[in-house]
């Protein structure tokens, strides 16, 4: 039996899904302390609908932010609004319409997957019969087969991750928090999990995917929020972030050292050189601004006897976005 993401969506009416306008979740100046440690430090972000990546190194405050959204940690300052509900005063209503897949191992080892998923379905207000039926549906969806009748303590890490996802979606919430969903999984398991996230995201749900694996976020997320040391350092559409600046070109040249020196000096007189990076073996990467047509780039290359190995409008991967964000906004790691 195959269950599709569309089939999983029961169009559940919810306060969280409505009345929130374009943004599903907003944080305004959120500060959270664990004793003397400041886990979130004036964190402010607007998180739209769709699949959204929450990026940051370990200790950046991603998990704390998710817990704060669920009302599981007290805010020292600021406010969080989830679908128009205040996390401080309406946390139970928020939790009623949210699915949460925690990062750490949290499953009850002495029961099987069907019992666990249907148990948490009932905990979310479903009847015993409905939760059992729905439990089987979501276990089919995440790809847990006959193993569902074995005790969870005998499961591999990948299986446990799938069961964690199943319990998070059993009550068909419009908003899902997935905290490091691929943690501890092998490459094939990671791919399967990301495929599931994409399918869930395609069924008109908002998925907030917390991860420190940039490739995963780039693969499935439409919007990215980057945080460090409890603060926001960058956010935006993934396509916009990786597109780089409009009038900036990336250029790679190769030649002998003196030729490259003459070329760079000449190029510097016709346009602005933003960054120069020696890549070794006579190869240099440049970021330049002011020569969108490339006429001077190629003319000067001919005159100075250097090869142009690569030239195009700047396009970054998320790793570069991530690193540049930290250069601008904070330290990498805690």
């Amino acid at each position: 039996m195959t269950t599709t993401a569309e089939g999983l969506s029961h169009s559940r009416e919810s306060a969280v899904g409505e009345g929130a306008g374009q943004h599903h979740l907003s944080a305004n100046g959120v500060t959270v302390h664990y004793g003397p440690v400041r886990a979130l430090d004036g964190f402010t972000a607007l998180i739209p609908r769709g699949v959204v990546g929450l990026l940051g190194p370990n200790g950046a405050g991603k998990s704390t932010f998710i817990k704060a959204c669920l009302g599981l940690v007290s805010l020292s300052a600021g406010t969080i609004s989830v679908g128009g509900l205040d996390s401080r005063t309406q946390s139970l209503r928020i939790r009623d319409h949210v699915g949460y897949m925690p990062e750490n191992d949290c499953l009850i080892p002495s029961v099987n997957a069907v019992e666990l998923v249907s148990y948490f379905g009932m905990m979310s207000g479903m009847t015993s019969k409905d939760s059992m039926q729905r439990g089987h549906e979501v276990l089919d969806f995440v790809g847990v087969g006959e193993e569902r009748y074995r005790l969870i303590k005998s499961y591999s890490t990948g299986m446990k991750q799938k069961v964690k996802l199943a319990q998070a979606i059993v009550h068909d919430p419009p908003l899902l928090f997935l905290d490091e969903p691929t943690s501890g999984m092998d490459p094939q398991g990671r791919e399967e999990m990301l495929e599931l996230v994409t399918m869930i995201g395609a069924s008109d749900k908002t998925v907030i995917l917390s991860s420190h694996v940039l490739q995963e976020v780039e693969q499935v997320c439409r919007h990215v929020v980057i945080m460090s040391n409890g603060r926001l350092v960058a956010e935006g559409e993934t396509s916009v972030l990786v597109a780089g600046q409009e009038d900036v070109q990336s250029l790679t040249i190769r030649g002998d050292e003196s030729a490259i020196g003459r070329y760079v000096a000449a190029l510097g007189r016709t346009c602005e050189i933003l960054e120069r990076r020696d890549e070794g073996k006579g190869q240099v990467a440049l970021r330049i601004r002011g020569d969108e047509t490339g006429r001077n780039v190629f003319r000067l290359a001919g005159e100075n006897e250097v090869q142009v190995r690569y030239y195009r409008g700047e396009r970054l991967d998320l790793e570069e976005v991530f690193l540049r964000s930290f250069k601008r906004g904070g330290d990498l790691g805690d």
């Binding site: 925690p102 750490n104 207000g125």
Partner: protein, 252 residues
């Protein structure tokens, strides 16, 4: 809350240890009494008879053991599995979780401490030969009160200890041993001053049953001190449990 309560109850009744304890205790404490009530002609339900059933060390001993077994993994299981986060990501409050967990355990202990004696009293009334149903009904009411007290007495303490450890065995042994140690301490100090026996849970419970069935408390037992001890023994562990769960719920 109801979902958790039902799950705890079902899970406990599936446990071999709980099943054995329940069968043994029901056989040991009540089987003979039921036969006696059915075969022995009696005028009415006597308070002294019911008081005797409650006051025998068998009920307190089995209740302690059953509580230790039932409550041992109530919280420690969720601690060792880090399952709190799954519970509290749902729309349930700490108090719902605590009541659900303790309620399930109370239902199991209630089979031994409440349902069985109340059923015994009802059977005795149904088979009585005399017309004094008013008195019998009074004794039945007192039996209900004694049953509630016996059921409520040990569970909060056992559940509290379960919230202090990730190991079920530590919680079970700790619960039973602390009841046992308090009993020994109470008895040792009672050698010097008999009023010290109030700190023995089993002895205090026994005195409380005497009082419920309308008997005089021993002269060396202060009624107020007994009431305070009984209340503290149930309320303080419940409060500590609540605070422990609050800390877990917010991830501290």
């Amino acid at each position: 809350m109801y979902v958790i309560l039902r799950s705890v109850f079902k899970h406990a009744l599936k446990s071999t240890g709980v099943k054995i304890l329940l069968i043994l205790s029901l056989l040991f404490i009540y089987a003979f009494q039921f036969i006696l009530v059915l075969l022995d002609p009696h005028e009415r339900l006597e308070a002294s008879d019911m008081s005797t059933y409650f006051n025998g060390m068998g009920l307190a001993g089995f209740a302690m053991l059953l509580t230790a077994v039932v409550t041992s993994d109530l919280i420690s299981g969720d601690l060792s599995g880090n399952s709190f986060v799954l519970y509290f990501s749902r729309a349930i409050r700490t108090v719902d979780y605590a009541i659900g967990k303790m309620g399930g355990a109370l239902l199991v202990v209630g089979i031994l401490c409440f349902a069985a004696p109340v059923l015994l009293a009802i059977v005795a009334i149904a088979t009585q030969s005399g017309p004094d149903y008013g008195y019998s009904a009074t004794v039945l009411g007192r039996t209900v009160a004694a049953g509630i007290l016996a059921t409520l007495f040990f569970v909060p303490y056992g559940t509290m200890l379960s919230s202090f450890t990730k190991r079920k065995s530590y919680a079970a042994v700790g619960t039973f041993m602390s009841f046992f140690v308090l009993t020994i301490i109470g008895n040792v100090f009672a050698e010097f001053d008999r009023s010290w026996r109030v700190i023995s849970p089993a002895e205090s419970l026994s005195d409380a049953f005497d009082w419920i069935y309308g008997q005089e408390l021993p002269s060396y037992i202060d009624g107020g001190a007994l009431a305070v001890f009984l209340a503290l023994f149930m309320i303080v562990p419940t409060l500590i449990l609540y605070l422990r769960l609050r800390m877990q719920a917010v991830g501290k």
